[in-house]
Amino acid sequence: MTTQAAANPLGPGFDVPGSEATYRETFNRTLRDELERDPDVFIMGEDIAGGAGRYDEEGKPLDAWGGPFAATKGLVQDFGMERIRDTPISEAGILGAAVGAALTGTRPVVDLMYFDFVTVAFDQLLSNAAKSRYMFGGQTKVPLTIFARSGAGTGHAAQHSENFYSILAHIPGLKVVAPSDAYTVKGLLAAAIRDDDPVIVCNHKKLINTSGFVPDESYTIDIGKGRVMRQGKDVTLVGMSWTSRVCLNAAEEMAKEGIDAEVIDLLSLSPLDEDVFLESVKKTNRVVIVDEDTPRASMASEVAAVIAEKAFDYLDAPIKRVTGPHTPVPYNKGLETAFIPDEAAVIGTTKKLLGL
């Protein structure tokens, strides 16, 4: 079950064996599965083990940290330091080395912690990871996976809260996926690691402790396929990463008032599944795009532009965007909460759009 399942509603309700699990556990578990599947896969990052060079009583390498949000917890003790490689704080050097390793026959997975830190390695990402295949005339490939945490909501303030995916999705040569729950992170992370192109996996901090149904079996979700999270006929809500859940919650709320919203979860930001939201808009004739990233030249802008070009004749109302403001992310909880598009904002905008 790959795309099929991806196109299914939310986790629960498959007739396949599985269980409730958190996004965090599922992410860690999927890394483990892929490490077992393919000996060429290894992980690099700062404190993905912790206590590097030190060993416990049984002589096993220390597992003192396990990566931010415990993404890699426990892996070093089972896979060793060559495959779970702690690094100094050298994002450019690490990512550059990962690209070099990918170009020469391995499949590196790099934990860059927070998307804000991708900026330190941005040249390696844009100039080498994204462009090598093209500028060398297709003679090579870069099977590299990068993951980090994105978004506001945890009081990390301006320098630890970037969403950053709009910038990444703009770049030819990169693929960008944004899981929205435990079910999708399993399928997308596995697909990313098995993909022969550089893929970036966006993990919103607010998703990491959420839980949902996860099938036991191994599966991938096709990169480039979005899903319909909820069927509806009155209006289309388009979400990505955390905002897909915001859209779903808003839709459930509005259902109580008889507003039947369809919810689209993009899942992949590059390649972008245009069909999944175009088909929906052609049915509902109205759309609200919800994106936590700052508005200018954002994913919300892109989705709006595609609709304005390819579904124009089906539109009965202006295309609405609900996004973060054109500001950095503030520290104070109240301000930070106001930064993030929430259910109230989505409902308010949608009702206005429907003239209610």
């Binding site: 990390h156 320098q159 609900v322 403001p325």
Partner: protein, 330 residues
Amino acid sequence: MDISSEKLSWLYETMVRIRRFEETMLEQTFKGKSMGVTHSSDGQEAGPTGICAHLTEKDWIASTHRGHGHCIAKGLDSKAMMAEIFGRVTGQCKGKGGSMHIADFSKGMLGANAIVGASIPLAVGAALTAKYKGTDSVGVAFFGDGATGQGVLHESMNLASIWKLPVIFACENNHYAEATPVEYAVSVSDIADRAASYSIPGVVVDGMDVFAVYDAAGEAIARARRGEGPTLLELKTYRYHGHFHADVPEKYRSKEEEDSWHARDPLTSFEKRVLDQELMTEEQLAAIRSAIDKEIMAAVEFAEESPMPPLEELYTDVYVSYSNPVQGLR
């Protein structure tokens, strides 16, 4: 010892203020009063204190995620600092920056910075301003052992050297970057030795001894003010607590190691020394401690009672002027 008695009590007062601030800040974090993660610098008091003892408000410092000690040593107000951590509008940054972004430009404090290594070139730029304007101000870049992994440090030291800029590169080697031991991540035993790559002086300093720091920093800063260029100081020190409030350091370092550093505690060794040499009395020391206790308690009260920033603050301070602000599209 050629330190005035005023300076001597300033050194003690400053170290005690840092210690109490950090301990209290941690307590308050565990009480849920901080709106984000906090990084305590207790154990490392001697570094910022011994260095900033030579600076005025005309000098600039650039700091890190572990910046409270730098702030206090540079003369920032503990009330405004605590209020910032509490996310209040009375905070140093109106509650918009938090623990990792405390700054006070009126005091020459260019800000704590949450991107490891990113604040280092800011101090170089401050020194460039000093040279450009012909003043005798200096810039101090505080950074940790882990930050030496960042290329921008290399670039900054090279720039400061070829331009003979008045910069002090103050590496606080507390032996860990998060849970990563310095001996794993850094390919040289004394970071100070890397100064040779830039033809500048590099000095290993006992970062637990404020007098050692005071002397080494005094020389480096005088050299910088004389226009003779930058110096790299490596302060060997230790953070008593975890990397951040919730970190459990026992997972990656031994009790023995911790004890050996506590045995060299900068405050107690200061006390012992000034009492042995009869430079200060137990009464004087006690008076300073209780005054600081009151001050820090008052800072907590102040923070507690301060209002939150109004929602409009979300949209202000992005630009000095902007013709077409976008307050989110709703």
